[in-house]
C-alpha cells in the first residue's frame, strides 16, 4: 500500500509565520496523506505547535497557503477549521472546569431539536464517545474534579469525536500513565485504519517510533526533513533535530569556579507532587537548567523566586560576610531582600512596564530599598553609565514598549544590575532577541558572575546553555537527572538525558 500514490489530504505550501520580530516559521512545506500517523518533532521552539496551530485555525499564515484535498482553505478561526474537517487536541487543556464531561464533549457541536438542546441525545452521544474511546468517566462529573490525566483523556476523546478527516495531537501523553498511553495507541491505530490523517506532535522518541509511520523534523522554524519512520533510528532522528552551528557568541568561561556557595537549595518540592530537588549555586557560576517543556523547570525557578509557594524544602542565600539566611517561601519581596531576583520569560506580560521609560524601568530595581514616602533616587548618570555598559543605545526617556526584543531584555536585566542583587534567576535569557544583542547579553551575564554574582538560567535553547553555562542540570518530570559540566556538554548528551527513560546510549561527544 503505497501511501504516496494517493493525493495528499492536506498540504502546507511554504507557510511562514512571525510574531513581532520572532520568525516562528520560515517557508515550511508539509504534506499529509490519509491513513497515516505523521509525527512532527523538533526541539523546543522549533515551530511544531505554531505549524499545527495554522491548521487548527488559531493562527493565520503570513505567507504561503494551506490546501485541503487540493483546494485552498481559509482557516480563520478554530470553528472554521473544525468545520473544514480538522480536529485538534491542543497542548493546553481546553476542557472547561465548570462543565460536565458530557457538556465538554459536545461543546460547539450541540444537537438541537426545535431550537432546544436535545439533552437525552447529547448525553447518549457522550456515553457512546466515551465507550468508543475506551475511557471510563462518569458523563455527569464536573471536569474541575478530574485529574490532569483524566482531563487529557477527555480532550483526546473530544478530539476523536468528530467528523474530521485530520486529527492533530499536540503532546497528548504528557500527563498520561502507561496504561493510558496504551489506550491512546489503540485509538490512533483505529483512526489510521479508518483512513484518517493524524498529526502527532511529540518529543517522545519511543512514541514516535511506536505509533507513527512518517516523521517531519523542524529546526528553528524551518523544515529539516520528512522521512518514513523505517528509514530512521532514534539516534539519527536526534541528529536531525540538533546540530546548529555554535556561533562564536559566548564569552570565555573561567577555568575554575571557587567553591564559595551563593545559593543552596535542599529538598525543594515546588508542588506537593514534585520530587525533591537539591543543588548548590556557587559564586561566579552560571548554572543552566535544561529539559523539555513543562518538566518542572518553571516551577523550580518560580518557587526559588518566591512567585510560588514552596511545598517544602529550604533555600539559603549566602551574604558577603559568609553567613547565610534562609529565604521565606512564597514572597517575592522577601526573595529580593535576600538578593534573589527573577527575570521572567514573558518580558512584556510579566517583566517590563511597557508604558514607562527605560529610565523608570531601571530605577524600579534600586527603588526597593527606598521607603515609599521618601524621595525616589534620581541619579541620571547611573542610568547613563549602566546603559553604556549594556550597550543600550536608545535614549533613556523612551518607553520600553517601543524597544526591540534585545533592548527590552537589557532593560529588564538593567533593573536588577542597578539594584545590586547577587543572584539572578533567568527564564529564557535570549528569547526573541537578535544575534547581536544575544552576544552582548551573554557578556553582561558573565560579567555579573565575574563580579561575584551567580546565575541560574532556564533555557530551551541547548546550544545557548552549552556555550554559556559552567554547569547544566537536566530536569525531567520535576527531578534533576543529570549534572553536566558545560565544557563537555553536547546537544545529543543533554537531549538524551531529557528524552529517554533509560540511560542514553551516547555518553560523550
Amino acid at each position: 500500500m503505497t501511501i504516496k500514490e494517493r493525493q495528499p489530504l492536506v498540504e502546507l505550501r511554504s507557510v511562514s509565520k512571525s510574531f513581532g520580530q520572532n520568525a516562528a516559521l520560515k517557508a515550511v512545506s508539509l504534506a499529509g496523506w490519509p491513513g497515516s500517523i505523521h509525527a512532527v518533532t523538533g526541539e523546543n521552539g522549533a515551530g511544531k505547535s505554531t505549524l499545527m496551530k495554522l491548521l487548527a485555525g488559531v493562527h493565520q499564515p503570513d505567507s504561503g497557503e494551506i490546501l485541503l484535498q487540493g483546494r485552498r482553505a481559509a482557516l480563520g478561526t478554530p470553528a472554521k477549521a473544525r468545520r473544514a474537517g480538522v480536529s485538534t487536541v491542543f497542548q493546553e487543556l481546553t476542557i472547561l472546569p465548570n462543565l460536565t464531561v458530557a457538556e465538554n464533549l459536545c461543546l460547539g457541536r450541540e444537537l438541537t431539536r426545535g431550537g432546544l438542546l436535545n439533552l437525552r441525545a447529547l448525553r447518549h452521544e457522550a456515553v457512546q464517545v466515551l465507550q468508543r474511546s475506551g475511557i471510563t468517566l462518569d458523563p455527569d462529573r464536573l471536569c474541575g474534579t478530574l485529574s490532569v490525566g483524566e482531563q487529557q483523556l477527555l480532550e483526546i476523546a473530544k478530539g476523536l469525536h468528530s467528523e474530521a478527516d485530520i486529527f492533530i495531537f499536540d503532546e497528548p501523553t504528557a500527563p498520561l500513565n502507561r496504561a493510558e498511553v496504551d489506550q491512546l495507541e489503540t485509538l490512533l491505530r483505529a483512526l489510521k485504519e479508518q483512513g484518517k490523517l493524524v498529526f502527532y506532535i511529540s518529543h517522545r522518541l519511543e512514541e514516535i517510533f511506536r505509533f507513527c509511520d512518517t516523521v517531519t523534523v523542524l529546526k528553528d522554524g524551518a523544515h529539516v526533513a520528512t522521512q518514513p519512520i523505517e528509514n530512521l533510528t532514534p539516534d539519527a532522528l536526534v541528529a536531525l533535530m540538533v546540530g546548529r552551528e555554535l556561533e562564536a557568541l559566548f564569552p570565555e568561561r573561567p577555568a575554575h569556579v571557587p567553591d564559595v556557595p551563593a545559593l543552596q537549595v535542599e529538598h525543594l518540592t515546588a508542588t506537593p507532587h514534585s520530587p525533591p530537588v537539591s543543588f548548590t549555586l556557587r559564586r561566579g557560576e552560571i548554572v543552566g537548567i535544561a529539559g523539555l517543556e513543562g518538566q518542572g523547570q518553571r516551577e523550580i525557578i518560580r518557587s526559588l523566586a518566591g512567585a510560588q509557594e514552596r511545598s517544602s524544602g529550604t533555600v539559603r542565600v549566602w551574604a558577603d560576610g559568609g553567613h547565610n539566611i534562609a529565604v521565606a517561601s512564597g514572597s517575592v519581596a522577601a526573595a529580593v531582600r535576600c538578593g534573589v531576583a527573577l527575570l521572567p520569560e514573558d518580558r512584556k506580560g510579566e517583566g517590563l512596564y511597557l508604558d514607562l521609560s527605560i529610565e523608570d524601568n531601571i530605577w524600579l530595581g534600586p527603588l526597593r530599598q527606598t521607603p515609599l514616602w521618601r524621595r525616589a533616587p534620581r541619579d541620571p548618570s547611573l542610568v547613563r553609565r549602566l546603559a553604556e555598559r549594556m550597550g543600550l543605545r536608545t535614549p533613556p526617556a523612551q518607553p520600553v514598549g517601543s524597544l526591540s526584543g534585545g533592548n527590552q531584555q537589557k532593560a529588564m536585566l538593567g533593573r536588577w544590575l542597578a539594584a545590586d542583587v547577587q543572584i539572578l534567576l533567568v527564564e529564557q535569557p535570549t528569547r526573541g532577541v537578535d544575534v547581536g544583542a544575544k552576544a552582548e547579553i551573554y557578556e553582561l551575564l558573565r560579567r555579573f558572575t565575574a563580579d561575584g554574582g551567580a546565575i541560574l538560567a532556564v533555557s530551551g535553547d541547548l546550544p545557548e546553555l552549552i556555550g554559556l553555562c559552567d554547569r547544566i542540570l537536566v530536569v525531567r518530570s520535576g527531578a534533576i537527572v543529570a549534572d553536566v559540566p558545560g565544557h563537555s556538554a553536547t546537544e545529543e548528551l543533554l537531549l538524551g538525558h531529557a528524552l529517554r527513560s533509560e540511560s542514553p546510549s551516547k555518553a560523550t561527544a
Binding site: 523566586a305 518566591g306 512567585a307 517575592v332 519581596a333 522577601a334 526573595a335 529580593v336 531582600r337 531576583a341 527573577l342 521572567p344 512584556k348 506580560g349 510579566e350 517583566g351 517590563l352 512596564y353 511597557l354 508604558d355 514607562l356 523608570d360 530605577w363 524600579l364 530595581g365 527603588l367 526597593r368 527606598t370 521607603p371 515609599l372 514616602w373 521618601r374 524621595r375 525616589a376 534620581r378 523612551q398 514598549g401 517601543s402 533593573r415
Partner: protein
Amino acid sequence: MSSSMSLPTSPGLAYRLQQAASFILALPPAYLGTLVLLASAAALRPNLLSPFLLLLILRQAAPLGFAAIGQSLVMRCRSLDLSSGGVIAVVSYLLTSGVMPLPWPIALPLCVLFGALVGAFNGFLIVRVRASAVIVTLAVSMILSGTVIALSQFHAVGDAPDILRAMGRARVAGVPLVPLLWIATLVPLALWLRRSAFGRVLDAVGANPRAAGLSGLPHLRVVFVAHVTSGAMSALSGLMLLGFVGVGNVKLGADLALNALAASILGGINFGSGRGGMLGPAVAAFMLVFLFNFLTSLGLGEPGKLMLQGTLIGAAALAYCLRHKDSAH
C-alpha cells in the same frame, strides 16, 4: 525618535504638521476640550468669560477637583472609588445636625479622618479580600447614605458651621479662597508624586500589576494608601460643598463620584495609566463645571447634563480602549 522618511514636495511642513497632530491627539482630551469650550463660550455666551464668573466657576469646580485627585490616584493603580457620596453625606450630617458639638478645629479634622477611615475600610476589602472595587465602594456608599437618612429622622440636618460658610465666601486678593486651597493641595501632591518612591511604584503598579508583583514592589500597600487618600479627599470636598451650599443635605455630593470618574478619564488618567499627571484631571474638573454652567446658560437642564456626562465617560473609555486594543494589558 529619528526616522528616515522620504517625503514628497514640502518635507518640513507636512512632517511637522503630522508631528503636531499626533502630539495634540495624545494629550488628555480635557485640554483640547477646554479650548473648544472656551471658544464656543466666546461665540455664544461671552459673559461667561468675564474674570468674575470664571473665578466663580473655578470655585465651584474645587470640590470636584479634590475628588478628582483621589479618584485619579485610585484609578492609576487600576482601582476605583465610588464611595464619595456616602462619605460626604456622613460629613454633612455630622457637622450640621448637632450630633457632634465640637469646636471646628477638632470637628473638621475629625471629618477628614473619617473619610480616611472609610478609605481604609474600602482598601482593606479590596486588597486583602480582593473584592471588586466598584461593588465595595458602591455598597459602602449605600450603607453610609442609608444610615444618614435613617438617622436624620432623629436629628435633622441644619446649617453648616459658620467657619465653612465663611471659607466658602472668603477671598484673598480678589481670588476666592477655596480654589487656592485646591491648588495648594494639588501642586505639592503632584510634585511629591513625581519625585517620591510612592509615585514611581504607583506608576509601575498601574502599568503592569503582574510585573510589579514579580519584582517585589509593594503593590498592595500602594493600592491601600491610594484608597485612604481618596477617602480623605472625598471628605475635604464634602467640607467645601457644605461651605457653598450652607445647609446640610443628604443628597450633597451624590454625583461627585461619577463626575470625578469623568474628570479623571477626560484628564488622561485611565485604568493603569497615569499619563495625564495631576494636572489633567484638574483641568478636566474645571472643564466639566464650565461645561455644565455653559449648558445651563443655553437652557439645558439636569437631564441633558446627565446624558452628556454618560456620553463623555463612554466615549472617552471607548476611545482609550480602542486605541490600546493591541497592547497586552
